[in-house]
């Protein structure tokens, strides 16, 4: 029996129930950790019938003890938890099934009153149980800084009176938007992390699980389903993203045989479920774009006109330099390099994009495609001067060497 796995499988559900019961994230995490430590010692000899229920009972008892010990803390909490149960109440409470409070917990951790980076870190810490050390590595900050970020967010939730509730219908779109944006940041971080260190599979797996959990908890929301699909499509390509020498392989040149079939299937099923809904949000379009790229697996060719049309729609819903640069590349492939370059030039004046690596890299590609090697070389030099990550640097250096007509060295 893998005790550690049993504990981590139960974690989100038990921590969420504790957080909802005590209105205190620290207390919930501490009570769970205590219970988990006991489980590690006891379970090998005496395995529980229902691990989650065992942990819930043990952690609940510890939580109640802690509340009793620090009456001061309870007095300072505005959102006062229900009165302390008698031993009979406790027995009943512990026998009742664990309430599923995970959605409430996710909404609390992703409250828009918290900075987006703090939301992402806090959610991965509290809901997924990632360590501060692992989060610090993924978010490229020091461990003390990460600890401070999480502590500050927890403190704000308690002190500012963030409610432990699933938001009312009127506030739902904005609050859900904050949750989705948080997940997207978490995944983007996992994606970056992988490019740099290559050890992010565990981190990405958590984000994958979290997006799947959200799709399970909100099975009728097309954007939730689409985001879950999106991270699966992106994750499916992970094995093909770097070549043997560690250089980045652009999406259009990846070896489709290396893509993970299982994740593509999961994503496609999620996206199918979203397709019945009328409204179209940005995540559905993004997922459709990723889906279209993956279609190359069957057809052998990337459907660029479809992708360019999807970007035309996306740029209206989600303007911004990332969408604009990706759109320019798609337009270049679908409607010719000159059209792509025009789209790229049109956004240059927005916030000095000339000093932005993705813009220069896109320009290099489009200039090369347009048969202007000198301009492509200049853009490649500009991109390389902007400190690309090692995998992208290798790729850009190789492109430059090819343009100059000699092998990379």
């Amino acid at each position: 029996m893998d005790v550690g796995a049993l504990i981590s499988q139960s974690r989100s559900r038990v921590v969420a129930a504790l957080a909802a019961r005590f209105r205190d994230l620290d207390l919930a995490e501490d009570a769970f950790s205590d219970a988990a430590l006991t489980a590690l010692a006891v379970w090998p000899a005496d395995p529980p019938r229902d691990p989650a229920a065992w942990l819930w009972r043990a952690a609940l008892r510890r939580g109640l003890d802690a509340v009793r010990r620090s009456k001061v803390r309870t007095d300072a909490v505005h959102d006062i938890p229900p009165p302390e149960p008698t031993p009979e109440d406790l027995a009943m409470l512990a026998d009742a099934p664990i309430p599923d409070e995970r959605l409430r917990l996710i909404f609390v951790c992703c409250h828009p009153a918290l900075a987006p980076e703090a939301r992402a870190a806090l959610t991965l810490k509290v809901v997924c149980g990632l360590s501060t050390e692992r989060l610090a590595r993924a978010f490229l900050v020091g461990e003390p800084a990460m600890l401070q970020r999480i502590t500050r967010a927890k403190k704000k939730i308690a002190a500012a009176g963030v409610p432990f509730e699933v938001p009312a219908r009127a506030a739902r779109p904005e609050r859900l938007g904050a949750v989705l944006a948080t997940l997207e940041i978490a995944y983007a971080q996992a994606y970056e992390d992988a490019a740099l260190a290559g050890d992010a599979a565990d981190f990405a797996a958590e984000v994958l699980r979290l997006s799947g959990l959200l799709a399970e908890l909100l099975p009728d929301d097309p954007e939730v389903l689409a985001l879950a699909a999106l991270v699966r499509f992106a994750e499916a390509r992970r094995p093909a993203r770097l070549d043997d020498l560690g250089a980045m392989v652009p999406l259009g040149e990846q070896d489709v045989a290396q893509w993970t079939e299982r994740l593509i299937g999961e994503g496609a099923r999620l996206l199918d479920r979203a397709a019945g809904e009328k409204s179209t949000g940005p995540y559905r379009i993004l997922a459709a774009i990723h889906g279209a790229h993956l279609a190359r697996r069957e057809s052998g060719a990337t459907p660029w006109p479809t992708i360019a049309a999807l970007y035309d729609a996306l740029i209206l819903l989600r303007p911004g330099p990332v969408t604009a640069v990706n759109r320019a590349v798609a337009v270049g492939m679908a409607r010719g390099a000159e059209a792509g370059l025009a789209a790229l030039e049109a956004i240059r004046t927005d916030r000095d994009l000339g000093a932005w690596l993705p813009w220069q890299a896109a320009r290099a590609g489009l200039c090369e495609q347009a048969g202007r090697p000198a301009k492509a070389l200049a853009a490649l030099d500009a991109a390389l001067a902007l400190e690309p990550a090692p995998a992208e640097r290798l790729y850009l250096v190789r492109r430059r060497a090819m343009l100059r007509g000699r092998p990379a060295g």
């Binding site: 300072a76 959102d79 409250h111 009153a113 002190a159 500012a160 009176g161 963030v162 409610p163 506030a171």
Partner: protein, 116 residues
């Protein structure tokens, strides 16, 4: 739980404002206060006179005090008024904050009041 809603706005907007504009924004504040009072959530609230009337008492590191003619910081937006409200949670406070009549560039800071 009590929250203070601190209203920061670019003052020049008011300095050059027409009589009609001022009447309108004051009217909006009156209406909002009435609504808050009716909901039993208004503790207090006031508008402040302009920063040209502000005097700041500065205590330096050694404890010595001096007076400064003006607000504590020269920023584009200045504190122009506040509401002290008593509502169940942050979401409720934020909902009121969103409804504050502010001019373009205006900001409403929501601060929970300390509990002793």
């Amino acid at each position: 739980m009590q929250y203070m809603l601190l209203i920061y706005e670019p003052e020049e907007h008011y300095a050059n404002a027409s009589e009609a504009f001022l009447t309108e924004i004051v009217g909006k504040h009156m209406a909002l206060s009435a609504e808050l009072r009716e909901a039993g959530q208004l503790v207090s609230g006031d508008g402040l006179q302009g920063v040209e009337t502000a005097t700041t008492v500065v205590t330096d590191a050694s404890g010595a005090q001096s007076l400064h003619d003006g607000p504590f910081a020269e920023t584009k937006e200045q504190l122009g008024g506040y509401y002290l409200i008593d509502v169940p949670d942050l979401d409720a406070a934020l909902a009121w904050a969103r409804r504050m009549p502010v001019v373009p560039g205006g900001k409403v800071e929501v601060r929970p009041v300390m509990i002793y």
